[in-house]
């Protein structure tokens, strides 16, 4: 454990340093970098869910003025690296899901490329497909581990015996739908080959991660791939790993070397190409004494993966550490189907898992006749139930009590007891949790550039989270100098390698690395460095203390109104109280937390990707039909945090905050809906039709 950083810049409500550049359009996103004579790509996507391409007639496309190249599996370069089946596109005639990339048109204008792609005629051999996640699916299986490397199943004690002996039992099945990540900036990439080297301007959560994946796929030395990504308009996990559109652009650019090829994935194409959250079916069984003390907790999950490539969402992992049940069991089973490849979406695992667990806890509170805040307090474990380690900083009960006080929780009544005009009114609560991890694989360089100024270099990402600002604050305190003495450089593989912005590990990991580099710099060059003095450091291996269980916690409170005649739901108030270590910047932190809560509201009431199993695609694949909240849906929403720091998590004392805001938020709303109406909705989203009773 290294010494905790003293804060001066850290903790200040600094407005985003990149804000003026962004609002004036001067901050270049991937697609916006200036290029000479670029070409534009439009993809050709499979219109069958499974089968083979028998023939592609590209002649109607080639005949159009301005079409420069048509890429298919016939003329695409052979890819040496095919371990990642999602990325190994155009290597055969096979089609594994509807919407899969089977070619591309490259043209002088985007309009020409789009029209030419529409004219390409494809003949298929259609094979039977199966796209439905069914409970009794014969192919269901237990994966070797769940994302990223958790055990698939855990058993602690005799759950069945504990359930049998419990005075109060809850046995309920919860369902969450297929959801698609929809960052404001769709995925974009510009690919350019020159002399055997590839430059990608990409919208990504991790420039080095893209370089690694692309280099492996093309069989290139990593030094021959450069990825540039200074500004990113959101990712929510969908830009955390490399998707096939990047490979398509690079394959196409090879045909037209050295001209750059620009590819802006459309909103509709994203629904097949850039990852999504699997639908889940979760059975939760709780057994408790009359006093609400948990004796047994079982959380069994069924979810889907693509037959093409496995992704196993860690949905039940939250139930391994959340409550002090004597006997616990968790299990994950996957059904492989002919669908696009699922992936990370904001707090994979915790988001769907805590909807189920926290709904079940609310049902248990009802069954025990206990206040749900009190029920959670009674089951707060003294040590991590899974590892037996002490908590570095578990303050769930503090969040619950503080939230109850601020929210007016005492005004809560029994279901259908509060009516205001034509609405049922209710309040709900749910807990939140997220790991406070470090990803220890970054490096940073500090360079003295003269006149009291320092340059901090690390290929971190700002995906709208505020990294440009917060990492500058960390660097300033690390070097004990003013904020404006720091020149931060991020978002480029020409900079020292940095881990992806994911798992709420970004700022803690990068910041700890920058701190290590700053300390190395001072050790080598002192307080009066000469111009050009440089020091480099990697993430210290003792960044996080392995002797502690490191988790964030929080409590969501929601108020809802449900129209008696029509079932319409509004959420007039939400409050989140979080225990997340030290806050680097209250302005950007609040944005992260209320953004997460908004996405939780979205999950509760709006989001659902509707699969048509006959065709195998998501039919509501645009923003008119795939609903996320509008401003009119998001009313009084506030996030606060406890004043604390966690000396065991990292030397900044911080936890990541990108994900915990969404975790549990949907359950708080579902629980409030129950409190208002007496109707328990166990399948998201909660739409008005489910409340017409």
């Amino acid at each position: 454990m290294t010494e905790l950083l003293r804060e001066a810049a850290i903790g200040r409500p600094l407005p985003r340093l990149d804000g003026p550049a962004k609002v004036t359009g001067a901050a270049p996103y991937a697609y916006e970098h200036p290029f000479d004579h670029p070409l534009y790509l439009h993809p050709i996507q499979a219109t069958i869910a499974r089968g083979e391409v028998l023939a592609i007639d590209t002649s109607p496309a080639v005949a159009i003025d301005g079409v420069v190249a048509v890429l298919t599996h016939h003329n695409a370069a052979r890819l040496p690296g095919r371990d990642d089946a999602e990325l190994a596109i155009l290597q055969s005639a096979e089609v594994a899901f509807r919407g899969q990339l089977i070619g591309a048109v490259v043209a002088e204008t985007p309009e020409t490329a789009r029209e030419a792609a529409a004219r390409v005629r494809v003949d298929y051999e259609i094979k039977p497909h199966d796209t439905q996640l069914r409970l009794d699916h014969p192919d269901r299986y237990a994966p070797e581990h769940v994302n990223p490397s958790f055990p698939t199943d855990t058993v602690d004690g005799d759950v069945e015996a504990a359930l049998a002996g419990a005075a109060v039992r809850v046995d309920a099945t919860y369902r969450t739908p297929w959801q698609n990540n929809n960052p404001m900036e769709p995925h974009t990439v510009v690919a350019q080959w020159q002399h055997g080297a590839l430059v990608l301007h990409d919208s990504t959560q991790g420039a080095h991660a893209v370089r690694t994946a692309v280099a492996a796929t093309f069989g290139l030395h990593r030094e021959l791939v450069r990825v540039i990504s200074p500004h990113v308009g959101g990712g929510f996990g969908s830009k955390g790993n490399t998707h096939a559109h990047v490979i398509l652009a690079a394959l196409a650019a090879r045909l037209v070397e050295p001209r750059p090829v620009k590819f802006a994935v459309t909103r509709q194409q994203m629904f097949a190409l850039t990852g999504y959250r699997t639908p889940t079916v979760q059975r939760i069984r709780l057994g408790a004494g009359d006093d609400g003390h948990l004796l047994a907790l079982s959380h069994e999950v069924l979810e889907q993966t693509s037959r093409l490539k496995e992704f196993a969402e860690q949905t039940a992992v939250c139930s391994r550490t959340m409550y002090a049940a004597g006997a616990r069991r968790t299990a994950h089973r996957l059904v492989p189907v002919d669908v696009p490849v699922p992936s990370w979406m904001r707090a994979p695992g915790e988001t769907p898992g805590m909807f189920a667990l926290e709904s079940a806890m609310d049902e248990l509170a009802v069954a025990c006749g206990l206040d749900p805040v009190e029920l959670r307090a009674r089951n707060d474990p003294a040590v991590d139930p899974e590892s037996g380690k002490p908590w570095s900083n578990r303050n769930l009960v503090g969040c619950l009590r503080e939230g109850a006080r601020r929210f007016g929780w005492e005004r809560r009544r029994n279901p259908r007891e509060r009516r205001d005009g034509n609405s049922w009114v209710g309040l709900g609560v749910a807990a939140a949790t997220y790991p406070a991890r470090i990803n220890p694989n970054s490096a940073a360089v500090i360079r003295y550039t003269g006149d009291g100024r320092y340059r901090a270099e690390i290929a971190a990402a700002d995906i709208g989270t505020g990294t440009w600002t917060t990492l500058t604050q960390v660097a300033a305190d690390a070097l004990e100098c003013p904020i404006d003495a720091i020149e931060l450089a991020i978002g480029d593989t020409a900079l020292p390698e940095a881990v992806v912005a994911g798992g709420s590990m970004g700022l803690g990991s990068w910041g700890s690395t920058v701190l290590a580099a700053a300390r190395a710099f001072r050790a080598q060059h002192g307080e009066q460095p000469s111009v050009g003095a440089t020091a480099r450091a990697e993430t210290p291996s003792d960044t996080a203390d392995p002797g502690y269980a490191l988790h964030s916690f929080g409590a969501h409170f929601a108020g809802v109104r449900v129209d008696v005649d029509t079932g319409e739901i509004t959420v007039p108030r939400m409050l989140g109280v979080f225990s997340v270590g030290r806050i680097v910047n209250p302005v950007t932190a609040r944005s992260q937390l209320i953004g997460g809560m908004t996405m939780g509201l979205s999950m509760a009431l709006h989001e659902q990707s509707v699969l048509d199993p006959r065709f195998g695609h998501i039919v509501n694949h645009d923003f008119a039909e795939y609903h996320i909240p509008t401003n009119a849906d998001v009313l009084d929403l506030e996030a606060v945090w406890l004043d604390e720091h966690d000396p065991h998590a990292n030397p900044l004392g911080t936890h990541g905050i990108g994900e915990i805001g969404i975790v549990g938020a949907a359950a708080a709303i579902a629980n409030a809906v129950y409190n208002a109406t007496g109707i328990r909705v166990r399948e998201l989203p909660i739409t008005p039709d489910k409340l017409l009773a």
Binding site: T47, E111, R114, E115, A118, N422, D563, V564, D565, T566, G567, E568, T570, L605, H606, V610, D612, R614, F615, H617, V619, N620, H621, D622, A624, E625, H627, P629, T630, N631, A632, D633, T687, P688, D689, L692
Partner: protein, 333 residues
Amino acid sequence: MKEFGYERAVDAASAVARVAAHPDAVFLGGGTNLVDHMKLGVTRPDLLVDVTRLPFGEVRVADDGGLRVGAAVRNSDLAVHPAVRERYPALSRALLAGASGQLRNLATTAGNLLQRTRCVYFQDVTTPCNKREPHSGCSALSGYTRYHAILGASEQCVAVHPSDLAVALTALDASVVVHGVEAERTIPITELYRLPGDVPSRDTVLEHGDLITEVYLPPLPFARRSTYRKIRDRASYAFALVSVAAALDLDDTGGPAPVIRDARLALGGVAHRPWRAWRAEESLRGRPAVEAVFRQAADEELADANPLPDNGFKVPMATGAIVAVLRDLAAAP
């Protein structure tokens, strides 16, 4: 995108002649629906004739006290027009319930009326759709039908009309003035829209080249007691699950409840056309304005409802919405 020609019309007669002479020509209003469809390949016109500069941008009080709304009046402008807000509040509320602020700033009155269904299969050229591609089949019939029709559908098409404005106009006895190739004619809005039947590709009775130049609202004094309510999956920028436009003419005789002298009622989100609730209106006339009467009227209107697998909820939702709207109107000062 397919290349196309663009012309700006100088007068209605030449615009009509130009489009009538070209089978793949269309009129361009605000473009908020047409341009989307061109990008998606749902429609592939050769020629756009822009009619937004024609002199149809005014809202005028007619000699009979009704209202004449130019076809090119933008939705935002119509919604806030003092005469509309005061005399036809249902119309103003319907407009404001539609789309988003940006779209309403562009969308025109006639363009709004002629927007096409949001059925997800109609909008996706990779799936069969009888409306887009006659005789290709209806994907919705055994597909995703949450937003689809519960009244008046056919085996060929179960889509609904998406306009909010059209529902209010349907309740308010409006008509459209059409500049045709031969002559000008007036069509009551209740006769403008078609049920799908065996020709779902046709939304309206208009012929190719027909140009709507004006919407006429007859005087309806009791429309001051009118409103529009839209039930949807989020608070803004969502199409109706069910919507209700209604006006009540009440005679307060001093009894336990006022008596309904007359009523206007139309539903959105339930059929291929805005659904004038004639049966419910008949049921309401001459009866006391109480909840049981409202509910009975709703039940009579929806007696023939034939929901699809995903939209059975529309029957109780429409019932609840009708009752709530009439109750609120009756209670209004």
